[in-house]
Amino acid sequence: MSERLHHHLPPVLQDYAPRAGVADELFDAQGNMRPVWRAFIDQLAGLSAQEIETRFARGDQYLRDAGVYFRLYSGGPAQERSWPLSHVPVLISDADWQTICDGLAQRADLLERIVADLYGPAQLVAAGHLPAELVAGNPHWLHPLVGTTPASGHWLHHLAFEIGRSPDGSFFVLGDRTEAPSGAGFALENRMAATRIFTDPFPRGNLRRLAGFFRSFRATMEALAGDGRHMGILTPGPNNDTYYEHTYIARYLGLMLLEGEDLIVENGQVMVRTVRGLEPLGLLWRRIDDEFVDPLELMEASQLGTPGLLGAFRQGGVTMINAPGSGVLETRAFMAFFPRIARHLLGETLRLPNIATWWCGQPAERAHVQANAKKMIIGSALEKTLPFAMGADAALGAANLTMADWPLEDWIGRNGHNLVAQQAVTLSTTPVWASGRLVPRPMTIRVFATRTEKGWNFMPGGYARIGKSDDTNALAMQAGGYVADVWVMAPRAVAPDTLAAKANFERETAGILPARAADNLYWLGRYVERTEGAIRLLRAYHLRLAETGDRDEPCLQVLGTYLTSLGMAPDRPVPEALPDLIAAARTAASKVRDRFSPDGWHALDDLARTTARFARVVAPGDDAARAMSVLLRKLSGFSGLVHENMYRYLGWRFLSLGRAQERADAMLLHLKTFAAPEAVPGIFEIAIETGDCVMTHQRRYRFGPSRETVLDLLVLDPDNPRAVLYQISEMRAHIAQLPHDSDRERLSEVEKLLLELDTDLRVADPADLPQAELVRFRSRLATVSDLLSARYFR
């Protein structure tokens, strides 16, 4: 008897009607609710639609606060898009999950044997199990790796599989991700969001935890890296669609986030450039595609990889997850041959079948495809993208004839060797919240596995991709959709387990700071300070303008000329250069997002958005002055978050050094104009105002302002946090804490220079400080910056 038809269903399920001939996650073929969902649905049914939506909003808020996003390449400049969470998880029973993992473990072993053979003896090709042309002409089969044995003994360490459930209820594989699988970090974020939505201990208590998977992965990586050698994630950088995930995993697992330029190869050993110098690296979890790994031996134009990396890998100097060249396994046409290869290599059939695939280079297969093309997805034989992935080139047979005017059969006949056809599978549906009720939507699940000493270890969960419409054809997934958490449910409550839960308290060392990260933090400090300086000057200008209403007033002219010399011509209330400056700060920050609180990032984002808005609406004079005050407060919000809350690691010191350097430099430049002896009346007041020292000046000096009081307060004062001398002291204090070459009896070059500057400023007399001396101080400071850069940023 069917529960769905005859029992009393809660209102949230009133409209839940799975299609005939399609499997559903919530209801079995007889229309009975699968037991694994019961407690979850009961709980949901106990809430009002409004309560449910409040909870879902809590999950979205978490994702926004955490800054989870992914990047879209398509159409114009790269765009960040918020994470499209479908709040209802997909629940799977322990028993079903075990079946899936058993099947995928077999498949993982099979994939390892195939890739080892392709780069080794190539017996599969010789024995006719894989056509030679699909290997030889395959751009993903990398010649320079033929004959290589990875130092770890394996090509594959971390895999992802895309699986679906067919109408008969069994699971099947839609595709394998072997090159640089993404998503493990996003699965973790989905879980974080889900735990904020479903706070009740039951049924959440029965949910299998993810932390153990990551802990064992980390332990495995540590063992592979080797004693005393670092490990890191090699990312293509902030423009990559999954960069957020790279920063997230780096933070979560305590790995260095590295780009190609962070690495140097020396005598077969990979070294990472750090502020301490070159240090050996033993393991790279690389998130860049095979062809980009090494411009010396692979794609010449690659700016992402490191010259010599492939050679180091061949010599066994580094373990890579996964080995370069592993991407060849993603070749779509290969799936046609996996079932047969499994029988040949393992003596077994595939426990989890893969989607039926035909390579059209074989006469019988070609004929079959020609006869059934309308029920198939046809694509390029050597393509790596999943056939139903967003933006994939494949389409249902009838739809992709735009390239030729011939009838489909002829087209397949002519291009057979380059074509692969796959069954247009039907996916199962799972509940999705829409307009106050649950509706069925098609889904696939991405499952993650890592190799451990004890075999393949599976993440108990993963993430599900959910289709936008109720079309259960796999191809409909190309239109994009949502992601959902996957809950593997144990029969009883599961003990808590997080990455932090260790038997003994153990303090990790602060870790090393890559030179590029230090460089970006230093420049972040400089750009933010430069932005603040510009905003202060603009505010001063518009305040005066509001008072006098006359742009030709002498002080305003001096200010205007000075602003123009900085590229901030004040004819527009928000000069174009201001958003550019904020964008530069944002770019620097984006490259160190793993070392940076999400709050700080949001503050910077907010500043950029507000500035853009002001640029459109603000009028000169009073309005602009007020707008600048708003920007200034937002900026101090950022500075406060960073300088109050950032742990005093080396990274913070470089950020602070950048700020001090910029502040001292800007002040000296500033005073060249605003402390000139022949200055027009009122200029000294502007110097003090933009130096944010009006009150202090009133207190400290009985008269004035004069050139002497200005120089005394803004250059020579050791206690004024805006004065040049103060910045020098700050810089000396930070530099003393940086890594130094061995001989600490002697000062480094940069320390000597700063000590001289410090002394000269302390003994200087404001009455005897010609303008030319300010210029000389400034050029000496520039040398400090050069020395820092030469010592720490390369």
Binding site: A136, G137, H143, I264, L296, E300, G311, R794
Partner: protein, 288 residues
Amino acid sequence: MRYDIRLSLDHSYPAASDHVRNLLRLLPSDRPSQRVLRRLLTITPAPQERRDMVDYFGNATTLVAWHRPVAAISFHLSVRAERLAVSAMDISPRLNALAPEVMAAGLGPASPLHFRGPSPRIPPAPEIADFARGICQPGQTARDAVAALGQALHAEMAFDSLATDVTTAPAAAFAARRGVCQDFAQIMVCGLRALGIPAGYVSGFIRTTPPPGAKRLAGVDAMHGWVMAWCGTTQGWVEYDPTNAQWAGEDYITVAIGRDYSDVAPVRGALRTAGGQRATHTVDMIAL
């Protein structure tokens, strides 16, 4: 024919680079058509790393690296080698019968299957394909088609060392109908592949002064590039020089073979320094 070959490559960089890593394919190796009697590659300043190896296609490959600032690097090559004359016999199948032989080939480095499809620097180019199809007939033998396309390109294109650079795509050079040996060779490879003839790029040297009474060849002042084409299981690989419209016979010494220039570039990695790096390049190949 026996030769003494000398090559000098000098690279200088405007700003000394901290770390330089190069992949060199400068040393000729023994091949069915040639024997290398001695070969010596001298590099100044001496690199801190040097590894000699053989790449997938059988080319002698040298990896070198410097880990201190270098402003200029010189490569000097000195080689004595012998080249055999090529057979003029045509034992290749007709063009329309070549495909089954190609597909039946295995996966070894000499397999035509590696040279059948597009490669990084030689993507398909419809204009070149149309040109090639206009020159050759399906009934022609494969070897005949190679010579016909080579001669046609030689007649169609003008040798012009200023019209293109090392990065010019085959389609662009063909559209201009101008270029140097690299362009001639890559265009021809592109055309041959469009005809279904597996084809690759060959780098090497040609003799500086012609035999008595013969014309001085083009491309003698620098390393040269020509074409290899696969003409069936029986005939195997043949080499043709479209820049000089002749089979690459006794006057040639092969250094490296590959799918296109990116597989055989004499020095890879040098171009990563931005700005006005300068390179000079001299070659002498004297018949003994």
